[in-house]
Subunit: 296 residues, 2 copies
Amino acid sequence: MNKEQIAASMRELQLFICEGLERVDGKARFSEDPWNREEGGGGFTRTIRNGDLLEKGGVAYSAVHGPVSDVMRNQLQLDGNTFFATGVSIVLHPHNPHVPIIHMNVRYFELDSGVYWFGGGIDLTPHYIIPEQAVLFHERLKNICDQFDADFYPKFKSWADDYFYIPHRKETRGIGGVFFDHLNNHPTLSKEELFRFCQLLGQSFPDIYAEQAEKGRHKPVSQAELEWRDLRRGRYVEFNLVNDRGTKFGLLSGGRTESILMSLPAVAHWEYNYQPAEGTSEAETLSLLSAPQNWL
Amino acid sequence: MNKEQIAASMRELQLFICEGLERVDGKARFSEDPWNREEGGGGFTRTIRNGDLLEKGGVAYSAVHGPVSDVMRNQLQLDGNTFFATGVSIVLHPHNPHVPIIHMNVRYFELDSGVYWFGGGIDLTPHYIIPEQAVLFHERLKNICDQFDADFYPKFKSWADDYFYIPHRKETRGIGGVFFDHLNNHPTLSKEELFRFCQLLGQSFPDIYAEQAEKGRHKPVSQAELEWRDLRRGRYVEFNLVNDRGTKFGLLSGGRTESILMSLPAVAHWEYNYQPAEGTSEAETLSLLSAPQNWL
């Protein structure tokens, strides 16, 4: 399985996910924005806006290559002359605060030295945490992981807990999920099987999100709940711009800004020192974000 | 002039600025939030919300001290055991898009080794750039600088151009201003005079902002202009969270998050790949942001 085949499958995956999400949304369609990278390669950024379910979202595909830059060498400790990278990245912001924000990424990286690896992750950021839904989400992820390696879920769940954390807020970004990187040289799984794992995560994405969205999308919404949604989106912006290593590396290394920042919501709010009143569902959500939870 | 005297003057400066801004606003008053720092010192964060002119803003004072942490040693290359820092920081977000966002900071830093310096800056971020107003702003700053050292304005103006730049957008944050750091051991100015320079910048702040605000605060506003304001506020958020060294260092070194992030607007918007139509005042503003301008 060579890099061209993986890139072609990533592009297929992007289209599969967009079709699935258009069915889930039921109203809006994705627009496609093709772009080229001066140093080699390019991508197709697909975005959706003002759907029935989704207010703003993106499903980006890219396959880029070229010389390993100084930033890559220093920040990623890459030992090679040229690289190839391809993947699919998703962030979706729904209208209804009773539907979670979701993020997914699967990626493949290869150096001219022959070294390669897979990486990825999926995590859920509910505006209001409902423990049963968090359990369901983690069950789905564990089920996918367990088809490949029983160690994947516990290892990658804990990795997500470390990664999706906002130190300056002492909050997790949401209810976590799975995160993995440098996945290669597996004792029993071939390169094809490792890619199949990434692919299955991606292929499962529309159903996983549909299941989460269905439970909240028709719930009535108050002005106070919309305000809370926008404050939580503010936290999402903070994580992405201050903490997310992928975003920071992308912006620093001259990645395509609009594709990287398609992860930001249409609207975000900030209030100085906002504290929800005790006993409210907002306070309950905050308390569940104060530390990673073992949902299963 | 010792650190206690400088800290006391900084606190006075904060109160002077807040009184001035309350007069300019004409409706809202600042609330004061006192806080203590576990390792030593604390501050008074003053915020204003939903005024006649100002939608959201803060004027923060702090005086903190304690051991030089590893983060400080590595990031700031500080050579000392204990430090003392005091200063005033301001960010104001007006309602009306025809009034600029403004930022100011003056600070004093001292190590137990006896080394000390002053730092600071003031810069203006119009949602719509009006060249005459930009010129006026820079004239005011040059006039203050020239009372101390004729080299200050050109040097500090150029420093601001470097500092207030958003590389991933290839845009300046606004029309610049002045920025300086490690100001000490001046050939002709004493420590008292260097502090007097910082103080005069601060004392001039309410008048400088009043003059800028007066020209735009009563202009009628369309929905499209509000949308543009909120997109520009999105850029302001990007600069503060991705690029601003003060914010990044503050969050990383365990500074008080709510005081640091009082700089964020009440509302910010993002649109994928938004481009204003050619010939509009939005496009004109963008073109003036594409590189630092010599306003004088």
